[in-house]
Symmetry: C2
DNA sequence: AGAAGCCGTGAAAGCGGTTTCGCGGGTAGT
DNA sequence: ACTACCCGCGAAACCGCTTTCACGGCTTCT
């Protein structure tokens, strides 16, 4: 059926008049081949439209040209545009180096299990983790020497490169903004406190708070879980416990949106009665009325950084954690 | 370093006392092996913790166990939670069959180019396409016999299996709902008319409209592009041209949300003055005030269907296009 | 009873690259 | 001039699994 099956080294070698070994050297950038011969090989490659069989190459060399993006969770996480964006950033950077992205969406509870086996199987050259709920797997994998990058700050201080948003700084800026706007009693609705990001945002809030010389009253810190419902619920709770709250920092925009709707249903004016700052600068920040003042994070940069860190590791370079900066976006809510 | 390098067929064969060929047969489910021997092989596999090297397997068999998910666009599309959800649905179904998902986010303009080459290279066993802007690539690829699935109705009537939402039916139901609610002058804000989904939704609207015996006045049909801004802009235009509009069907929730905010900014009451219906039942449908009446599509099912269609093809079965049903979700906006 | 099929199995030839090893020739050291 | 190296290059082994081929032993048909 296929008129012209893909050529192999045998053919290239023959038409270039060299050995297959030389073809391999040329195609892998071995400098030691005489320029003339290299040229002949390149000509043959062009002429025959040769493309290397990556599978064969992977088998022989042990390098697959594939890196895994592991999302430690279920469907819901990936439906979050945040991770979609990060992933495409990763994918784009990697593909520039001829590396493809294998997607694995699965709870990665234990250090064993399917994903772990796969990663250990040598079928991928590295792994990038999103939304790690536990460090068990990466800790275990570290021993295998598999290059890894973690998106988000790890729980324990692993010696594994990671990329993250400046959660602390962003939360600090958000809280500071509320203070500057004259808020005196500022509540926070945290994210899922099992995540390091949520903790860091809480810390940023606390830091800004402390600098005012006060300590956050009990009950001003509400533990949410990043969902719309938790934003609404915690806002109600906050106002019940502290009717005089005049500012709320929500750890993401979704909860901030929840806060806005609840407050409006209660007859409170945003931002006149209560000011609200969110985090993410998600799309929803623009559709609430008033639109949300929020902390923008550079999601694409985050993904690209993760990709670059991986590439660097594959190249055997030393890598440093990478923290992207945040930006305060002022809209109507504060 | 590694104390126990992964065992190979050689080892399994030896400890099971059979030939490597038999090991291969057992591990690939060849029925013709005597049960006793098969049992011995399985025992050896368990005992040694053997896991097949997929790369070697791929090279020898020509089947890589990888399928590509190709998103014909740039970052922005993937930040849409819609595609993230579809992708994870695909990924989950495929992984149940031991197949992994390779993600490719890239404009697939021509029938040539990097993606095309990769797909032709035999490195993947199949390809699933999202957001196809043109049928050129798939048409070209069809000749190679590569199993393909298209998410979304293709532009031309290709003989390639696809999965899609019942866009027509959903739009029809949405428009019908507006009519039933007593709307007389109903506008539509379409999606990017370069996509078949947008066209089908427009058709559904037109059909419902026609059944009333009227024809949509010129200017009631506004061409949007699924973005928040286009929703806002077209709403303004709609009201400028037809101040007496009393219903709007927006082809997605984002534009519907834009419509709601614009109308409110203009001092119009939703749903009292103007009723609005969206499409998708995205998260944003719940966060607008009033919440959006919309057409829910089963996005996860769509992804899973795409995955299943692919599996079926790999198994050599005949496959039929798959259309998921929609559901009218009534909330406050209409 | 002999020819013809079948069946389960192992030996071995790939799949298409990569990499080690060693050879011949040229350069350098003494 | 002779030994010691270095360099570019080809032969061949090898990566780990799949698949063809053929063989010995049985059953079945004539």
């Amino acid at each position: 059926m296929v008129p012209n099956p893909r050529p192999t080294y045998t053919v290239i070698a023959k038409t270039a008049g060299v050995s297959e070994a030389t073809v391999s050297r040329v195609l892998n950038g071995d400098e030691s081949v005489h320029p003339d011969r290299a040229k002949r090989v390149h000509e043959a490659v062009d002429k025959l439209g040769y493309r290397k069989n990556r599978v064969a190459s992977a088998l022989a060399s042990g390098r697959s040209g594939l890196i895994a993006v592991v999302i430690d969770d279920d469907l819901s996480v990936f439906s979050d545009p945040f991770w979609g964006t990060v992933t495409s950033g990763v994918s784009r950077i990697l593909s520039e180096s001829g590396i493809h992205t294998v997607l694995m969406v699965s709870p990665v509870g234990s250090a064993d299990g399917g994903v772990a086996h796969y990663l250990k199987s040598g079928e991928v050259d590295g792994a990038i983790f999103f939304v790690l709920h536990s460090d068990a797997l990466v800790n275990n994998l570290k021993k295998t020497g598999l290059p890894m990058v973690i998106a988000g700050t790890p729980h324990s201080s692993l010696d594994i490169p990671f990329v993250d948003t400046d959660n602390f700084g962003g939360a600090y800026a958000a809280t500071k903004h509320l203070i500057n706007k004259g808020c005196h009693k500022i509540g926070i609705i945290t994210g899922d406190i099992g995540t390091t990001a949520a903790k860091q945002r809480l810390d940023g809030y606390l830091q800004a708070f402390r600098e005012t010389g006060r300590v956050p009253a009990k009950g001003l810190i509400c533990e949410g879980d990043y969902s719309l419902e938790s934003g609404m619920e915690n806002t109600r709770k906050l106002l019940r416990d502290h009717p005089d709250v005049d500012g709320i920092f929500a750890s993401n925009d979704l909860m901030a949106a929840g806060a806005v709707t609840v407050l409006q249903d209660m007859g409170k004016l945003v931002p006149d009665d209560i000011k609200i700052v969110g985090f993410d600068d998600a799309l929803i920040a623009q559709t609430t009325r008033p639109a949300l003042t929020t902390i923008r994070q550079d999601v694409v940069a985050l993904g690209e950084a993760a990709g670059r860190l991986m590439i660097s590791q594959l190249d055997g370079e030393d890598v440093q954690p990478f923290i992207t900066t945040t930006e305060l976006i002022i809209r109507g809510s504060a």
